[in-house]
Symmetry: C2
Subunit: 207 residues, 2 copies
Amino acid sequence: MNLPNPIQRLIDHFEQLPGIGPKTAQRLVFYMLRLPKESLQAFGSNLAELKNDVKLCSICRNVSEGEVCKICSSSIRNKDLIAVVSSPLDMLALERANFEGVYHVLHGVINPLAHIGPDDIYIDSLIKRLVDIDPQSFSPVEVLLATNTSMEGESTAMYISKLIRDKGFSEDVVKITRIARGLPVGGDIEYADDVTLSRALSARSSF
Amino acid sequence: MNLPNPIQRLIDHFEQLPGIGPKTAQRLVFYMLRLPKESLQAFGSNLAELKNDVKLCSICRNVSEGEVCKICSSSIRNKDLIAVVSSPLDMLALERANFEGVYHVLHGVINPLAHIGPDDIYIDSLIKRLVDIDPQSFSPVEVLLATNTSMEGESTAMYISKLIRDKGFSEDVVKITRIARGLPVGGDIEYADDVTLSRALSARSSF
């Protein structure tokens, strides 16, 4: 392609990212050529050091700068409500929806087709968290299964729910819930798919 | 947003790039967290060093690793055909169309609204290239004005054409051409805009 190697290498790097094709990668790199050197150096060193600077929170496995993440170490979050999510991005979505509990990040879902089993995601550490619950506490801890409503998300939720009961946690100690499935707000009944609509009917609430 | 600083900083960097919004930036950074450390380090150092490793070719002002770019130093390119383009990306597009001449990259177009005048782009160095032409050569050098067919591209082409003649280069020494304007290949006459269609009519060729 007759491009200088440093440019071509950077284009190749960008092309490996999801959703970035060859043309976008070119456009980004040529845009960067017009940025000030200092800004590129800051960008580059941030990128290079990303994995050195970020670890997983020892409690919830969310991305964190310190040993324990900001949410787990916050005093105003409800520690008796644990949302189980499959990725940090889902955690961010729940944050935008003003969720006030804490999280447990699985970093994946069970997906036999992609060879991802229960041991490949952070389910073990969720169980360990539940073991630490004080059995004398007044109210049960609520585990809100907030995985996607896709097939993999549903089966992961079902697996975790069954595992918690199998491990002997009774409903008095661990209450298990699932995010509601129904019509999205602003949705059209006419265009809703059958499964969603039948869910929305069976899960109807008093008004 | 309760994200670790190294992640937030990298998201901010990505957000500054054209066509990348907050959600895409998040998605990219969280994808990167799953890449191997070595790959991130290579990516980061390439990015940081981009401007140190790349300079402009002393002849055509194209991006280059060395003093003179690969195209200008190639022996198989036609040095008597110089395509004037506004950016390296336009040069790449012409390369894909198998253009066999050499280039002159302006790095911009004249755009009074954006305060970009003739002195802010590499027009001077184009004139200097033409001065070096051997007046005893058999055939004239062809300057193919390949700027966009937008208003700014057209007026930049017109400005350069007039400047070359004003500097005293006759048609025997410098032949000036402009890329053809007409219907795009595969285009519908029914949906063509009026200006393009009238261009396509007046520039008709024998068949």
